[in-house]
Structure formats: C-alpha cells, structure tokens
C-alpha cells in the first residue's frame, strides 16, 4: 500500500538519503503525507495572516471594527478550521499507527538474528555466523562494523553495557535506544547494497560525537565470502587482537576508511 502511495509523493526524504530497508518507504510516505497536509495548512494560514496584516494596516481616518468573537457566527471562523484540523489529525494518526505497527510492534519471523551491544563508546555486533544461530561458537563479533546480507529479514537484540545509547541507521530510517538492563528487539530488512553510517543518537558521554559505526549491506555472495573469512576458526587471532585493542583505535578505522 505504501509503495503505491509513494508513486504520488514527492519523496522528500529520499532526496536526502537513499532507502535501504524494506520499511523506509513507509516512513518516507508518512513524512510526505504529513508534509502535504501540514504544508497546505501552514501556507494557507500564513498567507491569510500576511494578507490581514497588509489589508488592515493603519491608515488615517480608518477605524478598527469592534468584533468580540463571542457570537456563534464569529466563533465559526475558528471552529470550522479546527474541525478540519481534527480531520487532518485523524488522517495522520491512521497511517502513523500502521507505520508504527509495522516497524516497532510486529516482528516478522527472522531469517537471521543479530545481537547489538553498545558501550561507551563502541558498538559490538554479534553476527550469527555460518549456522545462522546466535550464541553458537561460530558467531562473528565485530567492533563498529555491521555486516548484513541484502534482502534478508533480520531481528536484532539491542543491549547496553553502561549508559543509554541509541542505535540509529538513517538509511534504514531505524532508531532504537539501548537501555542498560533491558534487551530490546526489533527488525529490519536491507534492500540496497552499500555502505553507510550507524550513529549513536543518545548522549552517552564525552566521546558521543565519535560513536559511529558502519553498516555494510552485502549481496549474498559477498556476505558468504565475509562469513568465510571471519568465522572464528580462521579469524580467531585477529578478532582477539581487535577486542584487546583500545576501543578508540579500533573505531578510527571504519570512520576514516
């Protein structure tokens, strides 16, 4: 449904950022719907406002009218637009609920799961590895690099080790706070290969400003190769080295790269 409506929408957010997840289109459409409804009202009201300022500017010999605004007829000048606003509100609330349900409430059965662990100031991504099951020996842990397979339904489990963080992937239009002591789950499905930013979107301390990561959305073949190259049997030493290294050093690489 959203894809269909999208054909008639200006696609404002897509001008700024590509859509890399299956539900990005929904948020974009909702954004456009709100923009159109609100923009219409805003410019109408603003235009009328400027017209009134111009029309009723002070001129010599011209006296203001006495309008109390208390009679029923006069009040309608406010009441009618306010019913229209109510109608607009409903028109916004309904798609909002749909989008919210699709993104945050319903979690489709996953093809693959992933664990995201945030801490000051790095992201650790625990990929399910070759067997596609979390918490098995072949899990691949990477710091500040999230590797996902295109066109695959993911479920993520977000945790925090110390303070609040927020897992934000702008190209996915996805954001979820990580809260210490809670495990929060959600889902995404990448639909576009490429490499983009992951940001921390919740103030998390001194180095909040560099707490970024990169997401690599790979085609099936690339992803298989990456799994091949990084499964712990073959890459155990390297992984250990990355984990032992100071966080800041580990983090510099993806950002500069």
């Amino acid at each position: 449904m959203f894809e269909f409506i999208d054909k008639f929408m200006p696609g404002l957010l897509e001008m700024l950022l590509p859509r890399a997840s299956s539900y990005a289109v929904q948020i974009d459409v909702l954004f456009d719907v709100i923009t159109i409804l609100v923009g219409f009202w805003f410019f109408l009201v603003l235009g009328y406002f400027f017209y009134l300022i111009f029309r009723y500017r002070h001129r010599d010999g011209h006296k203001a009218e006495y309008i109390s605004g208390e009679t029923h007829k006069q009040k309608q000048a406010i009441e009618i637009p306010h019913y229209l606003i109510l109608a607009c509100d409903v028109a916004i609330i309904i798609p909002t609920f749909l989008v919210w349900y699709n993104i945050k409430i319903e979690v489709p059965p996953p093809d693959e799961e992933i664990r995201i662990i945030s801490q000051q100031w790095a992201w650790t991504f625990q990929h399910a590895g070759a067997d596609g099951v979390l918490d098995t020996p072949d899990d691949i842990r990477s710091v500040n690099e999230l590797h996902v397979k295109n066109n695959t339904q993911y479920t993520y489990h977000l945790e925090s080790r110390d303070v609040m963080h927020s897992f934000s992937v702008p190209v996915f239009r996805l954001k979820q706070d990580a809260i210490p002591g809670r495990v929060i789950s959600g889902h995404f499905k990448p639909i576009l290969t490429g490499e983009w930013d992951i940001q921390c979107a919740e103030m998390c301390g001194v180095a909040h400003g560099i707490m970024g990561a990169r997401i690599f959305i790979k085609s099936e073949a690339e992803y298989a190769a990456w799994i091949e190259a990084n499964t712990p049997e073959t890459a155990q030493k390297e992984l250990l080295a990355v984990n032992e290294e100071t966080i800041s050093e580990a983090k510099e690489d993806p950002n500069n790269g």
Partner: protein, 146 residues
Amino acid sequence: MAGHNHPSYLKIYIILVVLFAVSVIGPEVAPMFGAYAKAVVLLTAFGIAIWKAYLVCAYFMHLKFEKVYAPYILLACLSLLFVFFFGTATDAMFSNGHNWFKDLDEEAMVKEAEARSYVLNKDSHGDHGDHGHGAHDDHGDEDKAH
C-alpha cells in the same frame, strides 16, 4: 470556618485510632482467611489508609467546610499522580513487555535479600548483628564485581 457543625474532633480521633488498630491487626489475622489473606491485608492496609486520610482531610483539615477551590486543587494534584503512575507503569512496572525484557535475575535478588534478612536469620544465628553486616559486605563485593 468556626461555627460549622462538624462532629467533635475527639470522635473523629477515636474513629481514626480504631481504624489504625484494624490496619495493624489486619496482617496478623489475615492468614485465617486462607486464600483471601492477601486481599484482606491490602484492604486493611490501604483501604483503611485511604479512609483515614479522608477523615483527616475532611474534618481535621476542614476540607468539608472549605470553599470548593481547595478540594479541587488537591484532587487535581492527586489525579495527576495517577496519570503519572499509569503512564509510567507501562514499562517501569513490568519485567518484560512487547519486544523487550529486563535483564534482571529476580530470584538472585530474592536470595540476596534472604541472605541479609535479619528477620529470617535471627533464629538460626544467635549473633544477628554481625550476620547482617556480613551479608551486606558480601553484597557490596558483588556490586564491585559487576
């Protein structure tokens, strides 16, 4: 507000004391009610607390005879508390919800609490004071270990 026909303060006070006695005795006699024990405790503890608060407000604070503004002010504040409570309860009050759960071991907390409990341990250990401290120290060490 003098000159209103309110019941004598002493009478209200006696009612309050009786209610108070019931609320203290409530938990003692509750086991006799078997399955309803918990309900009885809640009723005697909190039902009576609300009743007592009402009596103090209405008669000692003269809210019954005050201009309407005053009770409205207090009721407004009180109702906002309920708004706060129920809005917050959606996540703060539960250990798990939709797509999230709190990563906390309640059983371990119970064990910790039992270990340091004075009431539970005073029969088995004569020297209760030291035990309490010991339990507390253990807990502190665990905290550091986190």
